[in-house]
């Protein structure tokens, strides 16, 4: 039996596809990963003496706000991509997935300028605990964005072939991809105020 075909079938017991349950379990583990870093941030900042600077003194808040706009919008285009492929509209799926990828790239471009600006001023992860925390948390998030972009690119390009032969299976994959991308957005929704606004 083709193991991939089974993942598109509904499980009797849970009423879920393995893809959906598996993805949510994965996201739960990712929440603990970022949660550990947030916990370290809370602990370090609460005990810092002298107290850490406010984010708005260190970072460019308008630029970070623009990045927040990019990721939120990319989440919208991602959900439209999923709705489109669910409805069988492949061209609209492609447009929305392409928009999601472009917005993700825009996020990375802004991040590039943000990081290089810090490097230019001699601030590196090794500089002190403050910058170590900043670079680690945002850096891990950037890696997650890059990973998501690679998967999204695959499903925009060569991956679409699966829709011709097994449409339900492909839609299930896009659902999982969307869940991951929204999670990356939610992490940023918490990261943004924590680092830049407080």
């Amino acid at each position: 039996m083709n193991p991939d075909a089974a993942s598109a079938d509904i499980l009797d017991v849970s009423g879920l596809t393995p893809a959906k349950l598996g993805t949510w379990l994965f996201l739960a583990s990712e929440a603990m990963l970022f949660g550990a870093l947030f916990s370290a941030y809370i602990l370090l900042r609460a005990g810092a003496s002298p107290a850490w600077e406010h984010g708005w003194h260190i970072f460019n808040v308008p630029m970070a706000t623009l990045n927040t706009f990019f990721l939120i919008t990319s989440s919208v285009t991602m959900v439209f991509a999923y709705a489109s492929i669910q409805a069988g509209n492949v061209p609209r799926y492609r447009i929305n997935m392409a928009a999601t990828i472009l917005l993700g790239c825009a996020f990375l471009v802004v991040k590039y300028f943000e990081y290089t600006s810090k490097f230019h001023h001699g601030h590196y992860p090794s500089t002190d605990l403050y910058y170590a925390t900043y670079f680690t948390m945002t850096g891990l998030h950037v890696l997650h964005v890059i990973g998501g972009l690679i998967v999204n690119l695959y499903f925009l390009g060569p991956g679409v072939k699966l829709y011709r032969t097994e449409p339900d299976h492909f839609v299930s994959r896009i659902e999982a991809t969307g869940l991951y991308w929204h999670f990356v957005d939610v992490v940023w929704i918490f990261l943004f105020p924590s680092i830049y606004l407080l």
Binding site: M32, T73, I189
Partner: protein
């Protein structure tokens, strides 16, 4: 996959607008330079609201199967533990002998 009988587009657009407004509010509030505790509380409440909107509508948690809720409630419990226990413990009076 079950097909949706009517378009969800208005919901998605509405959530998008709400997210933009909440982003504006959280940035605007940051310029007020509130006292530390209040600033953190407001920022986290707004962030939690935004995250909940994304989870509920974009991730389709509304109307999702109970087992997913169970996974997430368990995660939330451990997350709260992970986030606050180290800090709370650090405020204690214990000494390392």
């Amino acid at each position: 996959m079950t097909a949706h009988s009517r378009s969800h587009t208005p919901i998605y657009v509405g959530v998008f607008a709400a997210l933009l407004v909440l982003t504006g509010v959280t940035v605007g509030v940051s310029y007020l330079h509130l006292a530390a505790f209040l600033a953190v509380a407001v920022a986290m409440i707004i962030a939690a609201t935004k995250g909940s909107l994304v989870a509920a509508y974009f991730m389709h948690l509304i109307g999702e199967k109970k087992i997913i809720y169970f996974v997430l409630i368990l995660t939330a419990f451990f997350l709260l533990f992970l986030l606050f226990v180290p800090w709370i413990v650090s405020m204690g009076d214990y000494r390392v002998s």
